[in-house]
Every structure is written in C-alpha cells, then in structure tokens.
C-alpha cells in the first residue's frame, strides 16, 4: 500500500536507538502501574519526588556563571539575581579546577577564561560580596578541590554571621566521572575518594543542608555517551560513593539524603523525559533494596539538569535558542529540581549578558506561560514514554552487570570500559552526522552557504591574570605567615592519618593559604593520576 511508505528505512534519535512507528498496550506487557509508576512523591518516585511537584514550588532556575576575576563574576551574579534567578552556580577557570594558582606557569593564558579564578579566601570574599549566604543556595562545579571551595564558602558564611546549619548549596565533588569523562582529576582514585567521604561525613554533622556531591552524567553525555550510557554510568558512580561511605562506617540514611544528581538534557525529547523517570525509579530501588536505606529521602533521586552544550551549533547560532527551549521543556516534563539553560552563543565562547538573559527567560516562559508546570508528570501512561522508561532501565541494568563483572567502577575505569564505550559512541554519532543519517539544522541540513559567523562574543580581559598574580602576592605578604605554614603542616600530617580532613582544610583557608598550596600538599603526598588515552 503506497500510503504505508515511510520517509526512511530506520527511525532513530540522537542515541541511535531504533523506534517503532507507534506504541501500544503490547509494548507495556508486564508493566505494573502500581509497582512501576506509583504516586508522585512516593516510592519508586517515577512520577517525581514531590506530590505537588511544580504546583508546590517551581524548579530552581540556576544559570552557571563565572569568568574573569571575582569582581566580574560577582557583578554577573547580582545581575542574575536581579533578573529573577533563584540560585547561584559558580563556574571556575581551568587552573582553579585543577588546583593551580593563577601565578603557576601552567596557568598562563587560562586565568579567568572558562570561569572565575579563585586563588585564596580573598577572592572568595569578593565573589560573594553583598550576597546573603543565608538566603541563596549556591552550586559549585568543582571536583578535586571541592573541599577547599566548600571551606571558603563556610568561612565567608561565618564572616557574614550566617550559621553553617543554614547555608545551602552543592559541590560537584564527583571524581569518578572525571576519570570517566570530564578529566579534571588531580590525584589517583583512592585518596580522592577518601577526601570525598571526609566531606560527606563532615557535612552530615555540621552543614546539614549542603549537597556534598552531585553525581554527574552531564560530562559523560557531553563526551559522547548515549542516554542509556549516561544513565547507567552515573548511577553506577552513585553506588560506588554509597559503598565507599558505608565502608567508612557511615549509616546509609546519614548521608544518602544529601546525594544529588546532575543530568544532561539532549535533543531526543521523549528519550530525555524517560531518562529522568527511569533514573528516579532505578535509584529508589537500588537504595531501598540493595543498600537497605529506610529513610524515604534516601530513596529520592534529586537532580539538576543542564541543556546539552554539545547540541549547540556555531552555525546560525540563534537557532540554539530553540534547541535550548525544547531541551528545557523535556527537563521540566522529566521532573528536574533545578535547571540551567545554555545560551545561544556558547558554541563560540562564554555567553554575553544578553544571551544569558534570553536563556533564563526561556525557563520563565516555560514556567509561567506554557502551562506544563500545572500538572504533575503529565506524560505518565503514554505507551511510548512508559516503554522508553522501561527500556532505558533495562539497558542501564545490563551495564550494571557488565561493571560488576569487571570488579566495580574503579576497576572498570582502570580497564577503560567507560572511556572506550563513550569514545565509540562519540565517533559513531559523528559519522552519522557526516553521512546525513542524523541531521543538524544549519550544519548538514539547511545550511547557509555564505554564512559568516560573526556573533558578538564575550572576551575575557587579558589583564585578569596580572591582577590575580598581584593579589596572590599581596595576600601572601599580608597574612600571618606562621599561621599559614602551621596550617599547611598540620594538613600534611593529618592527610597521612585517617582523621577527617575538613577541619584542617578550613583552617588552611582561614589562614589565607592559597588553593595551589593546599592542593600542593596532596600532590606531593599522593602524586598525580595519569590516564591511558583510548579513542
């Protein structure tokens, strides 16, 4: 029959999973709504972690920002808060992420480029100047030095007279995904996991509203993983942290409620919605069944989401606004707790203020105008969405078995399982794009042959590095030298014992030791991790 003809032999989205023409009840055989769906706000949380979801409270609109010096980033934060943003999110520059001060030779050319440069508490005081830490929540995307940034945050809170019990926020602190994908590692896995466990233990007691880890699929996905790989690898990492903390003697319900997640939201609309739903169901089951958590808050997968940076195109950049809007809508329909929307100019450089504002407005339009925030989990019961949710869960479980059979996450990292899977997926995707099997508007379809890419982009002032170097010199000259040296020596000593390191890190920070000095102590003791590159 001629009218049965379809445009293509095979239909598949960005993850290359073939999809059927239509889905019906036969695709949900064995699916039990009571067991697999439940009620919103109840185990297994497929429908969301709150009974009222966005009717109770909208998601947190949290734009990741940071560039140049602390002064410039502080001004951007104040601008965002003024525009109705409800939480802060700090982007650090590469030297800060890797534990080098701005005056280190390796920092040349990188200071303030991809985020803000933070060398000592002095910078952090400027970064948070005039921002009431008792009222905003702050997310900090940093990993090996995460404990140091948390220590600085706590020191500034103290200066503002805000008790630690009131400060709210998140540090990424997820080193496993760094070995797997993001690559901002410094030390080998064992001491890295120890510092993470110390932070979890310390915060459980003293900073109860702080999310001590943000178990991240974002970078895994951006490095090329499919949705199923992102889901599987991220939750496997989560299990690894749970096991490390339990091994250190913590009760699962002491720390599990403070674990949070961070997922990418890519182009394949329904697959992304299903991914969030599958993640919540899987995590709830793992926590309750495998780890014996009794507190319902331990079962809940709370997550941040960010639209997919890799989906942005340098060509016809304004089109990115539309991509971001669709991805953001998927995150909201998937039930995210907070969201960052990328700016349309980010395939070219860091976003301008105008572009960031449009990105934030995109979320506000979804929240206020589209009506989707009025109903909880509106896609539940859709044959397609439920069957995709089941499928993603099954694919993740198959990866869990594979990881288990290799001896766990750390062993699988050492044997390059994740790195190889991700590199393969990235290459396959690139090839699909080259062959035209996957179309990207403005790039391999509907391209403007005479396009000149000349969007107004943000340039970071080259004087930033000079100013940072001067500030380090003045901090070192004006601090109590004996106190700083003593604090570093104590950290060095304690790092060789099993004592919790957080109090020592806090003392170093308050003594105005630099981030590079603190990381230097650990570089000397623990050495640096080096990977074997697979492609």
């Amino acid at each position: 029959m001629a009218n049965e003809r379809e445009r293509k032999e095979r239909f598949a989205g960005v993850s290359d999973r073939p999809v059927q023409r239509v889905y019906g009840p036969e695709d949900l055989s064995g699916w039990d709504p009571e067991r697999d769906l439940g009620e919103p706000g109840q185990y297994p949380f497929t429908r969301g972690i709150h009974g009222t979801m966005y009717r109770g409270r909208l998601w947190t609109m949290r734009q990741f920002a940071g560039f140049g010096s602390a002064e410039e980033t502080n001004a951007r934060f104040k601008f965002l808060l003024q525009q109705g943003q409800t939480g802060l999110s700090v982007a650090f520059d590469m030297p800060t992420l890797l534990g080098y001060d701005s005056d280190h030779p390796y920092a040349a050319g990188e200071v303030g480029k991809l985020g803000v440069a933070i060398d000592s508490l002095k910078d952090f005081e400027v970064l948070m100047d005039g921002i009431p830490l008792g009222q905003v929540s702050t997310s900090m995307t940093i990993n090996p030095p995460a404990s140091i940034m948390l220590a600085m945050y706590l020191a500034v809170a103290e200066q503002q007279g805000v008790p630690w019990s009131q400060v709210q926020g998140t540090i990424q602190n997820d080193i496993l995904k760094d070995y797997i994908a993001q690559k901002t590692y410094i030390y080998p896995p064992e001491p890295s996991l120890r510092v993470i466990t110390d932070v979890m233990t310390f915060a459980a007691k003293h900073v109860p509203k702080w999310n001590t880890i943000s178990i991240s699929g974002y970078h895994i996905r951006e490095a090329g993983a499919t949705a199923a790989q992102e889901l599987a690898f991220t939750l496997a990492d989560g299990c690894c942290y749970v096991e490390a903390a339990m091994k250190a003697g913590l009760d699962v319900d002491e720390f599990a409620p403070r674990l949070s997640f961070f997922f990418d939201v890519h182009n394949d609309f329904f697959e992304e919605i299903a991914k969030f739903r599958a993640a919540r169901r899987l995590w709830a089951r793992l926590m309750r069944e495998k780890y014996g958590a009794k507190d319902p808050r331990s079962w809940m997968l709370r997550t941040h989401a960010q639209t997919a940076g890799v989906s942005l195109t340098a060509q016809q950049p304004v089109n990115n606004t539309i991509r971001v809007a669709l991805q953001a809508l998927a995150a909201v329909l998937g039930g995210t707790q907070s969201l960052h929307t990328n700016s349309y100019d980010e395939a070219l450089a860091l976003p301008t203020e105008e572009a960031v504002k449009i990105a934030l407005r995109t979320q506000q339009i979804i929240a206020e105008e589209s009506g989707v925030a009025n109903v909880v989990d509106p896609l539940a019961g859709s044959y397609y969405v439920e069957s995709l949710t089941n499928q993603l869960e099954q694919e993740a479980l198959a990866y869990f078995d594979k990881i288990e059979s290799m001896g766990g996450v750390v062993k699988a990292i050492e044997r390059n399982l994740f790195q190889r899977e991700i590199a393969d997926s990235a290459y396959r995707f690139q090839r699909r794009q080259m062959s035209g099997d996957y179309k990207v508007v403005g790039v391999n379809a509907y391209a403007d042959s005479d396009e000149q890419i000349n969007t107004q982009i943000l340039r970071v002032d080259k004087a930033v590095q000079r100013r940072q170097i001067d500030r380090i010199a003045s901090v070192k000259a004006s601090r109590d030298g004996a106190r700083a040296a003593g604090a570093l020596a104590e950290l060095h000593r304690a790092s060789q014992t099993s004592e919790n390191l957080m109090p020592y890190i806090i003392e170093c920070v308050k003594a105005y030791c630099t981030e590079g000095e603190i990381c230097g102590v650990w570089r000397e003791l623990w050495g640096e991790y080096r990977e074997e590159s697979v492609y």
Partner: protein
C-alpha cells in the same frame, strides 16, 4: 610501499575537553594515517619533542579552552627552532575568528571550527601536507 602519513593529534595546557581530539584521531586512523595522540594536559615542550621523535608530517591541535593563543604559537616556534618547519600545523575546536587569524599568522595552515566535516579535514591534510 608508500610510507603512511604520520599525524600527531595534541591537546595543550589545562584544556581537558578531549571528545573532538579523539574523534579526529580516529578519523585519521580510519583514513589510513599513522596516528599518535598525546592525551590531555601536555606542555608545548613535550609535544614538540614527541613530534620530532615520531617524525610526524602533521600536528593537529585541538583547543576548547582559552590558552590556544599562547600555547599553539609557542609549540610552532619550538618546532621551527628545531628545523621542523615543514610540518603542517592544523588547529580545531572553539577558536574565535579573531584568534584564528592570529594563529594563521603564527603558522597554522587551517582552523576547523565546531561542526567541521571529518572528511574535509582529512582531504585538507592530504592536499596540504608538505613532507613525505
């Protein structure tokens, strides 16, 4: 038998974004090149040494961070100083137009931005390689 073209795919400085570098390395390999990938966090000195030791025809540098304007010219200078000025230098990644002009002035033959066609990169390399 004809000698295979040798390409060094490099990441410089503190830029950890290696997705593009790996994809390009694999595309070169599939196209029959001998590929050496440096991995991330390399210094210009180390990359220059590797280029000399491996006797490469092409050095392809991927940059998605800020230091390309400093480190790529440094690398080219180091190689020129060692007489390896017939190497074909390519750059790719997120490199603003203005920086691309500076890099070309420093000796980079072409800059491939986001969304570049892999086959185009391969063809450009084959057409412009100066050694072998």
């Amino acid at each position: 038998m004809e000698r295979k073209l040798r390409v060094l795919v490099a990441k410089l400085g503190l830029d950890a974004h290696d997705r593009g570098a790996k994809v390009v390395a694999r595309a070169y390999r599939d196209a029959g090149f001998e590929v050496i990938y440096t991995g991330i966090y390399q210094r210009p000195e180390g990359v220059a040494d590797a280029a000399i030791q491996e006797d490469v025809d092409v050095v392809a540098i991927s940059s998605l961070a800020g230091a390309h304007t400093v480190l790529i010219p440094q690398l080219i200078e180091l190689l020129k100083a060692q007489g390896a000025d017939d190497i074909l230098f390519l750059a790719g990644g997120v490199i603003p137009e203005e920086d691309a002009e500076d890099l070309k002035a420093a000796g980079v033959a072409a800059v491939f931005g986001p969304g570049s066609d892999l086959d185009e990169i391969i063809q450009f390399t084959q057409a412009n390689v100066r050694r072998a």
